[in-house]
Amino acid sequence: MIEKFQEWYQNRHDFARRWKEENPDGKVVGYFCTYVPEEILYAANILPVRILGGHEPPALATPHVFDMWCPFCRDCLSQGLAGKYDYLDGVMIAQSCLHVRQAFGAWQVHVPTPWSYYLCMPNAVRSPRSRPFFAGELADFKKAVEDWAGKPITDEDLDRGIDILNTNRRLMKQVYELRKEENPPITGTEAMTMVWASQLVDKREHSLLVEELLRDLPNRKLDRDPGVRLMIVGSENDDRPFMEMVESIGGTFVIDDHCTGSRYFWDEVVPNENRIQAIADRYCDRVPCPTKDFGQEDWERKRFPHILNLARDYRVQGAVLIQQKFCDPHECDIPSLRRYLEGNGIPCYFLEFEVTVPVGQFRIRVEAFIEQITAEELFE
């Protein structure tokens, strides 16, 4: 059944098209960043699907976004320009990095999509002032969705939306919990594919499959030596060939910090009578993207101790730090994160991703990293 996640991931457009046929009253909205509050979309019977790249050279993007911008964002735009998302009823973004805003901006002008929305997600999420502000923005957003969908979103609808999201988050976290085992019953590639799929299909269907998986996993024995326990950290990452490669040469990714991984689902909405405020708080409080991880007292990041805790909880022996080329927010954090993790005894290795990565060359580099970790542990 684990293959089903992969199938969903691969045939994402088929799923969305089928969903539309089965839900004639429903709409499909493509979204650009995980700060988009999917709760409100589910409440309105809208299927949110994350716009991801196609791992193809972004040939159509150049006239709109020149080469110094993040390849993932250019790939997303290129997919849209190529008509791969022609089934979308709407497209939206929650304010985040400039790179993805470029892709969204060009999409608004050049990819015909009936409805589009720029949600002004605040940057200062660690300031208490962001919460009422964002709740206001969310109220406007809810109103815009109501106007568009032609019917009001009730508290019950919001409760349903919150529940759909929270259930899915809780279940995926339970799967992640099993990765703490000595020999995890699920590889990092499989676990992350599960998360990618959850961004692409109806979460209710996805949750059913995750529940089934949870019943199955305790009895699943993988016929492989887990080898070195690794974590993978950084910007957007849905590079399956890379992850498979690492897990074929003596390593297992036991945990991650990616917006296509744990950062996406780690935090739940804490229920509150004021549903909109509860949702706003969840997005302000979640593990932040580096672009929003700054304070109003000192320079410390909120995300770093969280990553270290994950590394400890999952008994990580080494961390692979990756970023999409040109990703400024991560580029600003990675040298610091590296010092921080290495200072806490976790060796790190850095790699820069493109829409396709040179797997052969990366293999040699990661092999050397794994050897280094094994050798160090021999002498301890």
């Binding site: 040939a59 993007a61 390849p71 493109e354 040179p358 052969g360």
Partner: protein, 276 residues
């Protein structure tokens, strides 16, 4: 009227000698390090071919990234302008010109008169150029010609990133390690460059007829990949690498005519001044 056009590129020099719009002689040679000498030598060789002396030529115009090295030229014209004039002379229906040479790939939107309306170049990266193909052919241990040929036999498309030559090369190495067939790698390389250069062409807009010139236009594998990438037919003129020199010669003709007109105006003004 006898005129000359010389295109001094990063890798090769091309010379054409024209008489009243007809080609008298042409030649090419590697630019090498001594660019000025190479230009002089080739120019004299081509003149000799046509049994002419320098004094027989009314005007020579130079173009290309090292056009300044052709000290004997009386005028210079930007390379994209030479491309546009050269192409329009050969194919008057050309609207989009794609020129891929050793060092640079560029796209030009041309008016029916051969004026450059818009242009874009492959910035700061060798990945979309002939040099990149040569490097990849070396990695594959075959000639560029063989690489072009075998790529046509491939039936498999492998996405490869040619945003950066370094990344591109390591991808080729990865594919070799993965025992991918050479013809598929060859196609992947051509597809990647075609994708890259098509991106540049999309900046100016792809409008029929699309004409491909420059050294890479001789590479059948690349041209086929480009056709597929843009989903349009492309026209490759004979001697696609001589088009720049041809355009320069066209500019030389126009320059001579313009000078004649200017001289007449000056004469007329002088006459009128005298009259006053």
């Amino acid at each position: 009227m006898i005129v000359g056009g010389i295109d001094v590129g990063g890798k090769n020099v091309h010379v054409v000698i024209m008489k009243d719009g007809e080609m008298l002689a042409k030649g090419d040679s590697p630019t090498g390090i001594q660019k000025a000498e190479a230009a002089e030598r080739l120019y004299d060789e081509v003149l000799e071919q046509a049994s002419l002396k320098r004094a027989d030529v009314e005007r020579v115009v130079a173009t290309g990234s090292a056009s300044k090295r052709a000290a004997f030229a009386q005028g210079m014209i930007p390379d994209a302008a030479a491309d546009a004039r050269g192409v329009i002379r050969l194919i008057s229906s050309a609207r989009t010109i794609i020129d891929v040479g050793a060092e640079e790939g560029r796209a030009i939107k041309a008016s029916p008169e051969g004026k450059v309306l818009d242009f874009a170049i492959n910035e700061k990266c060798a990945a979309g150029t002939g040099t990149f193909v040569e490097a990849m052919a070396r990695a594959l241990e075959i000639s560029v010609e063989d690489m072009a040929r075998i790529s046509l036999e491939s039936t498999r498309s492998i996405p490869m990133n040619a945003q950066c030559a370094v990344f591109g090369e390591s991808e080729v190495v990865s594919l070799i390690h993965a025992k991918t067939e050479k013809r598929d790698i060859a196609r992947a390389v051509h597809d990647a460059i075609a994708g890259r250069i098509a991106s540049v062409a999309r900046i100016v807009g792809l409008e029929k007829d699309v004409v491909v010139i420059g050294g890479m236009a001789r590479n059948v594998g690349f041209v086929e990949s480009l056709r597929k990438e843009i989903g349009m037919d492309v026209v490759v003129p004979d001697d696609p690498d001589f088009v720049g020199a041809l355009g320069a010669a066209a500019a030389a003709t126009a320059g001579v005519l313009e000078e004649e007109v200017e001289a007449k105006v000056v004469e007329k003004e002088k006459y009128e001044e005298g009259k006053a």
